[in-house]
Subunit: 254 residues, 6 copies
């Protein structure tokens, strides 16, 4: 399987963290390609930033159509995930969705630890969009300005572990998710200090991408994930997004 | 009040329908400006198309920052609504949100009539995002290919009225929304043939924009609609979106 | 538009606060009439008191049938709102409903600040009745005996502002409602000290009444807000409520 | 136990049906008193009619304070139930609440059969108020004008049984409620023709009143069912409702 | 009525507590039989322990088929309740279900006080299974190792009362449940020290069993509580469970 | 990885179907062991049958403790899944849970096709237990007596495909689950005839077991999936279940 991992943020340091974790987990026959957004912000905390990230992810996905067998949107909150699932012919996975579905098989109530206060509203809405808000034990978060997203997990390791313990002790958490691409790989290194299983978004998404690829689900031709009906469009010619919208081109790619 | 109405679709015929309805309802002191997306599709039915529409709406909104006192996203499903509410200094309204909040004051269970089967999943998720799924009586829809979005309401008037009656008779609907910018103004012309109040997205959004402007709510500086924290960005210079992301520029605009 | 504002409590001091706020917001062409309940209690905190208030509001509404184009139930918790919406021929708005629908267009999670602990259960049930409990961030409240409802906002201004800050800081509130007719107008005077938009029940209801009047929705003849089916009645002749129940009289009024 | 059964409708024929069923079920030591509203309508189908019924029930309850050990509100939809539970010193039961809580112990999904289409919205909101909407399999109903509420169960027995079968066959109903005081006693006579247990509102409420009386729960002095805080009132002197509102009188009754 | 009360735990000391409370409440014509599990653990706190308890309860219920007119599962969390309701010909009640349905008629928001932290997750899932999670104000609990379940209520009476007060003061509780068979009877002795009504699982279940027996609901022959369809089975011959599974035997018992 | 697949039903024909599908999907390094219940019924359709199945599964799981690295409960409805997850040291997966979590990554609204009407209530409660009822588009089912569970998918292939199409056309299904171990492998053979992706319980559970094993989550020592606190027990010595309950033995196995 050729897996394209798209970091919808511009931070290449975070891309490195993602790649490192992904390679640790990937099967021998999984070939990983990385891509980093060239348009957008250093890390996504809000709905508007997620819109920028979703657009960037769609652009990258469309540029490389035909070059990958599955795609991972590698930012927590999954910008563009459901949108791309409509138009791509291959499985599309997201860090949040994959982490939630994996965690749900390890415990009933899921606790989330995040890197900022501001980011929590966006996460909450994302979990609600997936219809599993009833499984959420709570979201705990760091509460200060972050210097550099790619060093967050080193800078605040002790505090993050503390938040995990609070989530278990006070929120009734059965299983934890360390949320956000900047925390990629942290679950692995702190697991032994925690009292419940802990799930990482990148490794969950990688493993779930392998599952979906192996099960070879057919592409929807009906329902809300069939390709959008063809219709007049404008302003897309010359852009790669045209591949995802235009029927003639879609047929050639398909 | 200067109200910018953004049609996030490329169909100028639909822009005309929107404008006509908006002008019928607007107060004398409301000055309407229209804008039509130059990038995207003829009408939005899916999540991916909504992403294109949201991006187009954000681009237009950023190009004209400072020229309007309120902004209306004029497509049902409200592409980019919550996202823009984070970054703009003025009230932002959406056709779906405004129609739902208006309808909710006319009856308990809200029925929606839409222009295609495919569009219903996106609407349903939008209603869920606003937390009012429990108020939804049902969504009924036309079920064939549409030739031209700007003539839908003429082409299918009889069938649309029939769907309204079914919604009341079979779904327990107290109040109806005729959904989609292509149906702008239809509520006005068919109301007398219906057994319950019917709400139009454009006129609701216009009236709610006037309400929000009049009540002069302060701009959030905390919570999830405060402006996103400033952070490194890339690929935006030279684009109008920079106004919405960059602190220095924001200050000048603010 | 002739708007009848009914205070379902007996406190004329609160009626004055309501009127002052309403007049500040009303359009030039909105003619305001005030009415105060002659039966009932000084301020409504409980379900039983709300029943007394609803009955008083219905009595006033029936006495003046034909003299107003819209009616506002001016107590938080909206006693009698849905009931009157069934029987009156004109739009009926409530402070809570209007505040919630307005606030919902300014932020996702709504925080409420109230004047007593006891009142919070009734508010919560009211919000649940409107199907928007999922939007509620929390309810915070004063916690002592109130001397006089008409001076609450002066007596406790500092504490009320403090509660607002706590709602934002601890509950994840995006937008605030200062709840209760005794707080009418307070939002206006404290807004500049708050970090998120704040909504007032009276001004919201007034503005929404203007919206509903302008949009001229037809009267329901089916669904659960059509007039109740005619049926034998008793004990109402000689009372104004007869106008709302009896078919012959209804026809003359209609 | 002295049980006061209040029919909040004016139909004495229905009062007779209620009494007959209640006497069939009552323990030897349960002394039944009947009361019929003198103000209101023949049968309650809507929110407004329920307001009239609630007020009538409160008036009767206050007139006889001290003469009963428990009170049953004997109309489906329970007009005034929660309101009276705040102010009376004795257990208060309702037909809908008691039927739901009894039925819930006989099956997971509860189906309701009702006497008119219009009545279903009010029932649904009542079930929602009790927080058990998730247990509702569906509401099926007669769909024509009713001549006389006190003969409905005879006039439409066959159709009502048919509706019960449809509820089981098509809605996944485990247990049925025959809803509405006019159907009091019908469950008993048709049970043998039905494939699932069927619950009657009157006999459920009578039995639950006996339970609550026997368990002798203490009266709440805190929480939302403590008596409303004393406060200025008006227009109640000379009326029996004063007993429920005024502290001095309350103490004497207490 | 012959009522079989099954303690699905092995603790005979707790059986004694249950019996004492049951006898205090039972009508003269209710004949009580007690049974204690011989397989299982001292008290059930978890899902796995509940599985052991459910199996033990089913075994006892099957051994005595024909000897009782109603059955009570006498452990909080109701192990085996819905399962036995499918196969037995008589009403089956549970402590949690009965306590919830009784409490729901005394207040809107129900607070629970439990004997250990670990037990709370199982209770919460049980309440969710009954579809009344929306009525739950909160669960408060002792937080230390318990020496002997049959002396818990004596050992920790003061702390349990304190937890009750916290539930009212901090969670908005209207009515309390003292949860767990080890607390059987405590409600009776501490009620006078509490500010809201308090419900006991054993007495509630006993009273509800009497109600269900008196109302004589028919046995379901359709829906999800009809007897399971007959089908091949294995490993049950020689065990009493065969009575519940095998059609020939069922007929003889029925 | 050594994966123990437990069929909690006694039908060895179904065990064969499960094994065949599992082997088709398993990685080379996954070693599969099969086990079939010796106590219970031919296929589980009800809560009571699920209790028998759960007990049988627990017995098998305890007999082979130490011989497997992951365990699959191979009946739809997942009898004993959460219970075993508390007491085993290895990942435990279930067909329903795994199918739901896999399907959730392929579409928003999940449709289920089942082998009998009776089975649907149990499935619905299972989906509710996992907190994803909001994702359920509907459950459609065969509606006749089944001769042999191991030939259902051959006997009714055409009808099952028809039900799939109805689920997409009428319920708004985005992704399908063919539910029940008797349908193991059917998804693979009919996928090309369906308009949306279709998920199989066995292959989903196998793939998810591989994911959970690979991610090596730590064992919970707190929260509701930590091992149950040690306590007195009885009647288990000499049975394998003792391994799951007794501390001394647990340590030796651990």
């Amino acid at each position: 399987m050729r897996l394209l991992i798209v970091n919808p943020n511009i931070s290449s340091g975070v891309t490195d963290l993602i790649e490192a974790e992904a390679r640790r987990v990937a099967r021998a026959d999984t070939e990983i390609q990385m891509a980093t957004a060239t348009i957008g912000v250093a890390y996504i905390e809000t709905r508007f930033e997620a819109l920028l990230g979703a657009y960037a992810a769609a652009t990258i996905a469309s540029e490389r159509v035909g070059q990958y067998d599955a795609l991972m949107v590698a930012a927590f909150g999954d910008p563009g995930l459901l949108e791309l699932r409509e138009v791509l012919d291959v499985p599309v996975v997201g860090m949040t969705e994959a982490a939630l579905m994996t965690a749900a098989q390890l415990g009933q109530r899921i606790g989330i630890v995040a890197i900022s206060r501001r980011i929590t509203a966006w996460y909450r809405e994302c979990i609600e969009r997936y219809g599993v808000l009833g499984r959420l034990a709570g979201i705990r978060h760091l509460d200060g300005p972050l210097r550099d997203p790619s060093t967050v997990q080193d800078d605040y390791a002790a505090r993050l572990v503390e938040l995990c313990h609070e989530a278990v002790q006070q929120d009734g958490t059965d299983v934890l998710i360390l949320a956000g691409a900047p925390l990629a790989g942290l679950a692995r290194s702190v697991a032994h200090r925690l009292p419940v299983p802990v799930v990482d978004g990148v490794s969950s998404a990688l493993a779930q991408a392998e599952v979906l690829t192996r099960l070879r689900p057919i592409r929807a031709t009906k329902g809300s994930f069939a390709k959008p009906p063809l219709k007049p469009h404008s302003g897309l010619s010359g852009t790669s997004l045209l591949h995802l919208v235009d029927g003639d081109i879609r047929t050639q790619q398909g």
